[in-house]
Assembly symmetry: D2
């Protein structure tokens, strides 16, 4: 089985975190490999980074796309790992060129951009996966299956959150690159906390439940003196079925690393999941709590989940495996399209999720400016 | 040391939960005892209940108060354990008669009633403890101490919650007494979920932090068909120092028993506590999580906390001990007032907490009716 | 219902921990009360302690027993809370006088003494409860029920442990009374760690499983320089059904408070319980872990367990409630004997458990002296 | 930076678990890749498996080694993933040919074989890593650092365990390949449970503490009817510094997946780690428990640990990352040897660990046969 060939846009900077992460997630299954890249915004740095990685380098993404279109570079899909404000243009260029895309989130800077990508994807029928990594966790997928099969009944209420503490101090003034672009309105867009991690909380609330956010009442805060964008993000939401959701995120929770998770309260049961204990899913129904583990027998899981598992009984999969699962979903789509035999790709977040995320953040920003007035998404 | 003599109003009903609980909390330290009571609203039933308990019975609380005032019944304080709508009148009568009161919460049906009690308590200088049981947990007391000594810096954000599942079905139609009066506007007042457990979440957010709730934006729901009062209660709050608080409670979280807790995020650290793991307090500041246990050496704790502990190193105290601690606070006040030597009473919730709670619930109900408009408390 | 009248032997010393604990456990349900006591070994101190408690004092236990026998003191049962080496004589005297006894553990200093008490109890048919407090935890009782009903099949292996850290330093030289008598062969007997907490681990392994220890291979250590008795206790055991048990205890596990618990591995499932999370019981059988909580609906539990519960749905009971349950078992036996209507007493540890415990410790001490040779219990 | 080229022996069978695991662990960092393999014992199947993987195939390992020696195949090291009884021969052949080896454990079938490999490695100075995967967990490495720097003082006692449940039924009769060879004396050697997972528990006890096992008293059981080798393994051990260790493993703990971990009790503190919560390390010293997380700031960790971390602040690494770390240690050794600039390789388990493991298992088997007589390792 020939490995899929992947090209990367962005991700080669020295302080870049997600470039190396995607690279590992792509390599992970030994069925995909990064072979080319326009890894940085400065042409020379981009060429140097590619040389360091030992892959074919391009000074910028247009020249790489040109080569792909001209058949001078054979790749199966592109992964976009640039800062938020640089997702839209390369994503648009790829989609227009018919090149499948795995794109980091938040998808774009504005709702208009997001909708334009969605229109293009529909027109061109281009495979597109949005890298909401946590949806790749098998227990989050299993939660979605349990909801879909009615195990917890009609959902009434949702809690979905993402607490971090790393921006409790003004790291952007201390030269920390990850902090710099996230808190810069020119690079991060309307929202820092909401866009960066609030969207993860929104996706946890919607993707697992199958519901959409209809209206929001929000309060955004900038607790750190002098910060231009929000570092705290609180939303009360009305969901498409009448349920209420509390969706919140913060970056000033000192000592909290990655406290992301959700609770779904249905008429017949409840589900609870924590990213920091990703291998477990808690189902509450009657007089005992049921905890499902990644470690269950292989044949216990529905095929949709089991086909993504790499470790039988008792070992854990975590962050890299979750992201690798999204690349795996792209891989399955591509192999299926060319007639290869693979299990079905899971319905992981796509370009429509990106549109919903942008609308959600924009509505929350607007609501907050209007003293929490209920605002349609 | 002579035991304090306690009289009880309410608590003798067959389905009554809190009567037996207070009775045990009073007896617990073997320094207080229930000796008299007007235990039920029906005179005959009241006399029978007292006979069953083996204490001096009264057909109604006025006749008991009459006896106390006339010196025919010697008691040190009264405990009020009636349903919500029957707190105000006996509390008022006791305070006016100068009888110290431990009162169940929510304190009254209306803000006006609450304020009237507060005025009377101030006039008469009557000892008054409001039974927010969880504040009796030593780790919640220790959290309050850590905040007060500046350990976590200025508080920026608070999460405070109370998730239960027992009203996910319409138990009030199934004859469950505890469900009946709580969901009946005549007996529970403006709010079911907010009054019953939302006030606990509010107290966790304010009592530990030393902050007050200034404004609220709320959404209350009645998820169970045909229920007249809220069974779900969500509040975004502005605190007196500018912090934001998320305060929520629900009774429809299937399988959740008593998931009450808080997170306080300060500029220098965070505190987290869960009532269901009441013996632990989590302090996060630097690179490791610090978990304090009830089990620490006795001499570790500040005297204010240590003087309430009953078990050295390694055993837990829980619900009954927490409530006993509130009775202990009343006991210390009374013994101090008469010149006995006891450790200082801890500043547990009092009549002002009751006023704040009633205002909070009323403001949340109003805000919810006005689509979440920010409402002053 | 008249309260049971209880007399106490020991427990009044200033450094005494268990005296106050039993006193609270007796008072807890407001159906029993301590009314008399020979609380200390020095007559004057004993009288003073009783005066401080506000109960009828005796200078020594023989004079108290004399009064009971002569009808000058009416009590229902005696609780013995003296140091280990002073259990036997008062227990023997009470049993011979036909006075029911709740006795602290380890029951005696020697196997011979234990067997003598057992013979006397059988002759006199005197109610006798041995205060293995943890067996009063409802989840430990429920574990025993699940084993008895075959839920986990035939037991193959047991882990049972008790890790503490408080004796990691030589506290006996620092004047800590609790450390002093426990590490003194004259007062503690053959073994410190084994007798004090190893017996708890043994009881967890036997009482829940319904099995007996047949043979042991043991290694005892005294890790703290100059300590005369063991502070570390390790036993491999053959159980009556052929199962193997690992039973261990230590007092030098720095920072461990009261890490007592067990795992029972049966042919059809496993049970796990931790004293420090006493409200939960873990049952593992198939593909999900089932966690039972004290918080389950009242009507879920078998009557044998439910009749001991004080808190419906969602609140915890802990150490004091567990010990109160043992006094409750004594209370039920006594009330039943006189024809009162009470639920059935649970088969909590009794004098035979005390004999088994002494034999177990003696066999372990012998095995350790013989390089771990398998030794019959 | 050129990727290291890796050849694999074994691992290509259809039911093989570890072949795919090593393949992913090798590919993970995108700095190593499997390029060749003798993947199965049947020549044709071996060639087919290699074709399926898309690598250069060999019908057997001798022909592959021949090609390597003749310079016809350029590889940097070999990974051996055959069943236990087939480790020795290819390992010996590789070492003799001067080819570096990452070898699965247990290293050999007999102590003699293990010692022969150790002698050869010393003679030839061949890099050799033994795949005790769990030692690759950063928190296990950090535990080792804390011990080495004296953080917990002199170690007095160790608990080290490995509980699994997957062999509670006789899966070897149901055609489960993983069960088949492990319970077959011809393929697994002296011991099933001891060799397969007991050695992990031993390594946890020795590698983290820096101590050796001197003497053992053991009891092995075969609980499942008709099983020829042990499925339960219990060892009391005397360590080189006089400490006592409890080392146990079982495969009949129904519902337990991979409950592997250790507790180290030192004179100044205790460490606790669980493989199923691999991202956390618990340090207990004074009045609060300190929990270290993988999620701490990068610059918190000692360079020896930090240089192995892939995820900054707040995400987890798990099983694959741990194994990848062992391959990374091999990679660092090789790159250093050729003068490339890499961080120092960590002292992960090597051929001497393999010898110690074999001696440990052999001594335990002998002790068990002699009724637990203390046996020198």
């Amino acid at each position: 089985m020939k490995k899929l060939q992947v090209a990367m846009i962005g991700g080669g900077g020295e302080g870049s975190f997600f470039g190396a992460v995607h690279r590992r997630a792509i390599a992970f299954d030994d069925t995909r490999e990064v072979v080319a890249g326009a890894l940085r915004s400065q042409p020379e740095a981009a060429m140097q980074a590619a040389a360091d990685w030992g892959i074919r380098g391009y000074p910028d993404y247009p020249s790489m796309i040109e080569d792909i279109q001209q058949g001078r570079l054979q790749i199966d899909y592109v992964t976009i790992v640039t800062p938020n404000h640089q997702h839209f243009k390369p994503a648009k260029a790829c989609i227009e060129a018919g090149i499948p895309v795995v794109c980091e989130k938040p998808m774009t800077m504005t709702v208009d951009e997001a909708e334009e990508l969605a229109r293009l994807v529909e027109q061109k029928n281009t495979p597109f996966v949005l890298a909401h990594t946590y949806t790749g966790h098998p227990m989050m997928m299993y939660a979605r299956e349990l909801v879909a099969t009615g195990e917890i009944g009609e959902i009434r209420k949702i809690e979905s959150w993402y607490n971090q503490g790393w921006l409790a101090d003004k790291l952007e003034d201390a030269g920390v690159q990850q902090a710099g672009w996230r808190t810069d309105p020119q690079k991060a867009g309307l929202s820092n906390c909401g866009g960066d991690i609030g969207t993860h909380a929104m996706v946890a609330a919607t993707w697992t439940s199958g519901l959409e956010v209809k209206n929001v009442s929000a309060r955004l805060n900038s607790f750190v003196q002098g910060r231009l964008l929000d570092d705290d993000f609180n939303v009360l939401a009305q969901m498409s079925n009448g349920a209420t959701a509390l969706i919140w995120a913060t970056q000033i929770a000192v000592g909290y690393k990655n406290d992301n998770g959700f609770r779904l309260f249905g008429s017949k049961g409840s589900l609870e999941w924590h990213q920091e204990r990703a291998e477990k899913l808690l189902l509450r129904q009657g007089n005992c709590d049921q905890t499902y583990w990644l470690g269950a027998n292989f044949d216990f899981w529905p095929e949709s989940v089991a086909s993504y598992l790499r470790v039988p009984a008792g070992h854990h999969e975590d962050f890299f495996e979750a992201l690798a699962n999204l690349h795996c979903t792209m891989e399955r789509q591509l192999r299926r399209n060319r007639g290869e035999n693979t299990p079905a790709p899971y319905p992981h977040p796509d370009v429509r999720t990106g549109v919903a995320g942008m609308r959600f953040v924009a509505a929350a920003v607007n609501s907050s400016k209007q003293q929490g007035a209920w605002t349609e998404v």
